[in-house]
């Protein structure tokens, strides 16, 4: 008969204003950096923000924020720990730094489980750091959170954008709202991505320059938000 977990996912997200998934068709484009900086900037603006890391094979938002050893509280469900003003949920709360070699069905079950047990409470935004690509995790998230909206991250590379475009076409076919496409790690200005995005009838959210200082700010959220990258992503947060 029915899987009882599915019945409560809607309730768990019932007091969440907007669910914003930061995604990409390709790994290595800075998706997790954008998701983390976006969540931090919204929290800085005084919004209630949650950050959910669904990239089970390569979770990295905890590294970007420099948080270790957090553990959720248990009270009629799982209450996410707070990290730098964010209600923060990640598989690393349970897996630590061990690898989580999950196949498709396991990924689906783990996503359902996390969505069913996590008590987000009242939030203005839940930012989700999505796994790259259009596999099980992405499809499950789309199925389980019907009112999800996407910010899609690409680099200026044609190789990256070709994969990103597949994600954009999938989202269009599934009629999932796309807030826009952010071009990250831009080293020299080109109109390729902007023209392509506009050609699909989507919003181009702007170009974020490649920032050499970013690596030094890993693990230091306040420092991260002071970088040029952090300030650019904060502008995106203000425009949401």
């Amino acid at each position: 008969m029915s899987d009882p977990r599915l019945a409560i996912i809607g309730t768990r997200l019932g007091e969440v204003g907007r669910v914003v998934a930061v995604s990409s068709g390709k790994g290595g484009v800075g998706k997790s950096m954008v998701a983390t900086a976006l969540a931090l900037s919204l929290a800085e603006q005084g919004r209630g923000v949650g950050l959910l890391d669904l990239d089970f094979t390569s979770p990295s938002t905890h590294v970007i924020m420099g948080v270790e050893g957090l553990y959720p509280e248990e009270e009629y469900g799982i209450v996410p720990p707070t990290a730098h003003g964010l209600r923060y949920m990640s598989i690393v709360h349970y897996s630590g730094e061990e690898p989580a070699p999950l196949r498709g069905e396991d990924v689906s079950n783990a996503i359902i489980e996390l969505l069913a047990i996590t008590l987000w409470g009242k939030l203005d935004y839940l930012v989700i750091d999505m796994p790259p690509g259009i596999g099980d995790a992405t499809l499950d998230t789309l199925r389980l959170i019907p009112r999800i909206e996407f910010i899609v991250v690409t680099t200026p590379s044609r190789v990256a954008y070709r994969s990103v475009k597949r994600l954009l076409l999938l989202l269009r076919d599934l009629r999932i709202p796309v807030i826009g496409v952010l071009e990250n790690m831009v080293m020299s200005r080109s109109r390729y991505v902007e023209d392509e995005v506009r050609g699909l009838g989507l919003r181009y959210l702007g170009a974020v320059a490649y920032d050499e200082e970013l690596e030094a700010a890993i693990g230091d959220p306040a420092g991260l938000m002071r970088t040029r990258f952090g300030r650019d992503v904060a502008k995106l947060g203000s425009a949401l």
């Binding site: 019945a7 469900g77 079950n109 069913a116």
Partner: protein, 135 residues
């Protein structure tokens, strides 16, 4: 899975089933719980009593555990889930997110973490009994 979340999900799913099938009262709900979930039956029963709506006023909640079995995808070795000697934090991680078994459990024969949970994962509403209202 967390017992309170599970109880909430079961009651919500059973209530929907009752509504769809014209039941005015639910008398029995049988739930099959995979062993990997490591659900504490007493906590779950307590949660049922706290969360149940008038529809379940006289309902009995019956829990059946299905033992967990694993099969290695690498060498086909099969084995059962054992919690003896398992550190508490590991046991708790698997309780909340059973897929964490792939993080902490390895095949006893070849050491691979790539195994299949052949039985004993998940929770199902097995049967619901109740009283139909007059048409």
């Amino acid at each position: 899975m967390h017992e309170w979340a599970l109880a909430e999900g079961i009651i919500s799913t059973a209530a929907r089933f009752a509504e769809q099938n014209g039941l005015t009262e639910v008398t029995e709900v049988v739930v099959t719980v995979g062993e990997l979930q490591q659900v504490e039956h007493e906590v779950l029963q307590f949660a049922f009593q706290q969360l149940k709506t008038p529809l379940f006023k006289n309902a009995q909640f019956i829990l059946r555990t299905q033992p967990a079995r694993f099969r290695c995808r690498n060498c086909s070795h099969e084995w059962s889930f054992k919690t003896e000697g398992m550190p508490e934090d590991v046991s708790e991680a698997i309780h909340f997110v059973p897929e964490m078994a792939h993080v902490y459990i390895k095949c006893g024969q070849c050491g691979s973490p790539d195994f299949e949970v052949t039985e004993g994962r998940g929770v199902w509403l097995a049967t619901i009994k109740g009283v139909k209202g007059h048409e």
